[in-house]
């Protein structure tokens, strides 16, 4: 999987390494900005009210 991505990145090893870092940061950003905020309320720590539900 990661080998496949590495082979398909353009440029020499330095460019590929740089692109890899950018890709990793982009993935982490998407996770923190969109995926985790969506997943977090599914955990029980958010239930702090008495609501009869």
């Amino acid at each position: 999987m990661y080998g496949w991505i590495w082979r398909h990145l353009p440029g020499n090893a330095w460019v590929r390494a740089l692109l890899s870092i950018v890709l990793v940061l982009a993935v982490v950003y998407v996770l923190f900005q969109y995926v985790f905020p969506w997943a977090e309320p599914l955990l029980p720590f958010n239930d702090v009210t008495v609501d009869g539900q």
Partner: protein
Amino acid sequence: MGGLRLVVRTFSELCLTLGTLIVLFVVYVLYWTGVQADSASAGQIDTLQRAWTSTPAGAPPAPGKPSTLPAYAPGEGIAVMYVPRLGRDWKWPVLEGTGADVLKKGLGHYAATGRLGATGNFAVAGHRRTHGDPFKDFPRLRAGDAVVLTDGTTWFTYRIVRAPYRTVPTDVGVVAPLPTSFGRNAAGFDGPGRYLTLTTCEPEWGSSHRLIAWAHLDATRPVADGRPQALGS
């Protein structure tokens, strides 16, 4: 053999990816929600204080007839809460509503409950863990502890009446104007009065129960007269 090697390698890569994902999620829940809550709550307090200074408060509204005041708007900042027992620097904004988006930014006022300082029950929910851990030390509250709120014109000093009471999430009577727990007078209030209820989750990382703290209004003080004694020096 090449095919097997590919399968094993892909499988181990997936495991590593999943592990990293879990670690990142833990970092998000334990750390990042706190960072965001700190900046959001500080921003809410700033907004409130700026609003309070830009519209100089007149005479504090006469307590006892607040029913003429309009309801709070959803998400609106209502007050700033201080609880010395939870920390010398512990202060959180109280916003209208108890939705997840509100509790991310501060404490949430149950929309159906009373106004701050008014006859009835001003009920507030807050996170015990994650999103800044506002009520992390909730079980340390004891009878007589001060819960101080200000709405920009008045300091309201409430006093906790008993150690936190443990109940189940369906026990909606605990935020009633005269709080009870399934009809039982767990708070020990004799009749209608100016009460405050705090709720959070129990156990710390679970959601099977709730912890409740009740308080009654002990003193009010115009903001112009300075901070109340309960906040000490």
